[in-house]
Symmetry: C2
Subunit: 387 residues, 2 copies
């Protein structure tokens, strides 16, 4: 049995990872779990999977968790150091990195430095520090396997292909809940409408990012680091049915696509078992029930976040980390009902305009840019940049 750790075990990806572990009976042993403050669910996971180590957000959460444990009593650790301990557990061969936002950044880097296979769902990690992460992976021999359905699809399409024979990567985008809405309708969008993704059930942050197309923008940046392609060789096409999860165009014009049902368990299982494939517990895609597949150009006018991500990638250095931090702050404000959806790109633009990107030299330069951008986003909010 291969040991695995999960960063973000009570989130959407974390819970699906545990379903995959159940399904692949006897292949994986959960050795460590990291969560935030959902101690009820974490306690139930501990009861079922019996990890040796668990991390929670802070001491109060640790105390609450301890009071809910039944027979199995793992070591409980807290904070970033706790997540790092989960990510680098000596018995973990693979680490599923599925925390939301920047909190997974340092633990994921440590897992990569420790040479683990990292099944990466935390896209901010590569957005903030793709250069550091890929350099660390090259040094340690760690494999980074993408769990995002799009990058997972591209990973599958690239099997057996030579990277120098690839023209471009084509990320598909569902277009989100506002694909067919007018600018006026998007301006008056509620949180509930923005969370109502047509094809995927996901966490709140990523659902909002899907509604603004920032999710696709972050994926463009992620793709650059995962596969080594520059921005001009990463395209986005809107494909509302999300049946084609992404594609690769070869130099001879051939396009290889990966299709499947819209369930994250597929990509999680693939990332854990690669290069082997195993049967899974999902229904097969039935083509005769797939009415039609359509494609559209993304509309940068209604969805400016996508253009902001390309801008950040082209600026390089610390700019993607700044984009990511400003977006996290703005999305949290939107989810809290404090700003409109259309204010999100305005706040990010204000922060990016104020940033003079510098080279990414180490962890500190990224964390400093992240902190600066969060502060700048706060100022932009206070000054009404989003209004």
């Amino acid at each position: 049995m291969k040991g695995i750790s999960i960063l973000g075990s009570t989130g959407s990806i974390g819970r699906n990872t545990l379903r995959v572990v159940e399904h692949l009976q006897g292949q994986f042993k959960v050795v460590a779990l990291g969560a935030g403050s959902n101690v009820d669910e974490l306690a139930a996971q501990i009861d079922q999977f019996k990890p040796e180590l668990v991390a929670v957000r802070d001491e109060p959460a640790a105390g609450e968790l301890a009071s809910k444990l039944r027979d199995h009593k793992p070591e409980i650790v807290t904070g970033e150091a706790g997540l790092v301990a989960v990510a680098t557990h000596p018995q973990a061969e693979a680490v599923v990195s599925a925390t939301v936002g920047a909190v997974g950044f340092v633990p994921t880097l440590r897992a990569i430095e420790a040479g683990k296979r990292v099944a990466l769902a935390n896209k901010e990690t590569l957005v903030m520090a793709g250069e550091l992460m890929t350099a660390a992976a090259a040094r340690s021999g760690a494999e980074i396997l993408p769990v995002d359905s799009e990058h997972n699809a591209i990973h599958q399409c690239l099997r057996g292909e030579s990277l120098k024979e690839v023209n471009r990567l084509i990320l598909t985008a569902s277009g989100g809940p506002f694909r067919t809405k007018s600018k006026a309708e998007i301006e008056s969008a509620t949180v509930e409408e923005a969370l109502d993704h047509p094809n995927w059930k996901m966490g709140d942050k990523i659902s909002i990012d899907s509604a603004t197309l920032m999710n696709k923008g972050l994926e463009v940046i992620e793709a650059k680091w995962l596969f080594g392609f520059d921005a001009d060789r990463i395209s986005v096409v809107v494909h509302p049915q999300s049946v084609i999860h992404s594609m690769v165009e070869l130099v001879d014009g051939s396009i290889i696509a990966q299709l499947g049902v819209t369930d994250m368990k597929h990509a999680i299982q693939y990332a854990l078992t690669y290069p082997e494939r195993f049967e899974n517990c999902l229904p097969a895609l039935d083509f005769t029930k797939t009415s039609q597949l359509t494609f559209e150009e993304p509309d940068i006018d209604r969805f400016p976040c996508l253009a902001l991500a390309y801008r950040a990638l082209c600026s390089g250095g610390t700019m993607p980390a700044v984009l990511n931090a400003a977006n996290e702050v703005a999305v949290a404000e939107f989810l809290a009902g404090k700003i409109r959806l259309v204010d999100i790109p305005k706040i990010i633009t204000a922060v990016m305009d104020a940033h003079d990107p510098t080279a990414v030299t180490d962890l500190d330069s990224i964390l400093a840019a992240d902190a600066w951008a969060r502060s700048a986003a706060g100022l932009a909010l206070a000054s009404g940049a989003g209004a």
Copy 2:
């Protein structure tokens, strides 16, 4: 420069192969050409590509060709022995097998026995004698690379995959010119209507096979031999736009598809240059101009030829060769205006019903079954089995 021979150089695939050779300037040298009786076109090809050897159907064609040659005067040979000489030319590393029907059978087998890479467009070769051909390839080390767009797509989808992790192959079918027609309309179909394929420009025989879906049936049999899958693991889905050229379903439910423009030059170039890919002279597939992709179950009631092919594959032995021969006779009769399109499956059924399949032990057993079926088809026609 790699030497290549082309069997069927004046046909659709042959002419496209020469366009690919032109495009891949300096990579391939045409050493031998085989054609039927289109000596005008063959003379022009000789003038441009300067092969050392050419084969034509018979002595009168050879004489006519000789009278049309200008500066370059290759050796001229005739008949099946001539095609075999082209297929086994010592300087040919690759042989494009693109004759129509059973005439390419023996020359293709000889090319395989000689260890050549065979770019195979002549599907009857594998339909008639898949077992012999694949056994010969295993002995000689010859690679068989499919030029049919569907099998070429599957070959591309299988790159980097393990065959034991494949659930099934999914061949896409355009549905042909009668996809949306009623049984009554198909009964009164003219030759001209049957030749009017919606997506591909091809030779007459394959166009009629596409109209009856026999082409897809032959491809199912071909797929069995190319990739080693039984009939129950080869599916057909009607996909009228022919953008997805075929697919592979893996054990984990993932589907890998190959998409591209509908131009045979892509598959020809792939088969000649594999495992390398090179830029080609075709326009890229533009997703935003691809209005929609749709899928349907094939309708065995209106297109019984598809079911006949599955029946022949399941019967095994000499039955696929009998199916193929009866189909060739019936299609020729239809093209000559002597029977209706819907008589084709009736004649094939009558011949298959009369055949007691035996094991394929050698070339002679197949040629005997082929000859028997042609004769039986003639009898069926004379007795009005098609009426």
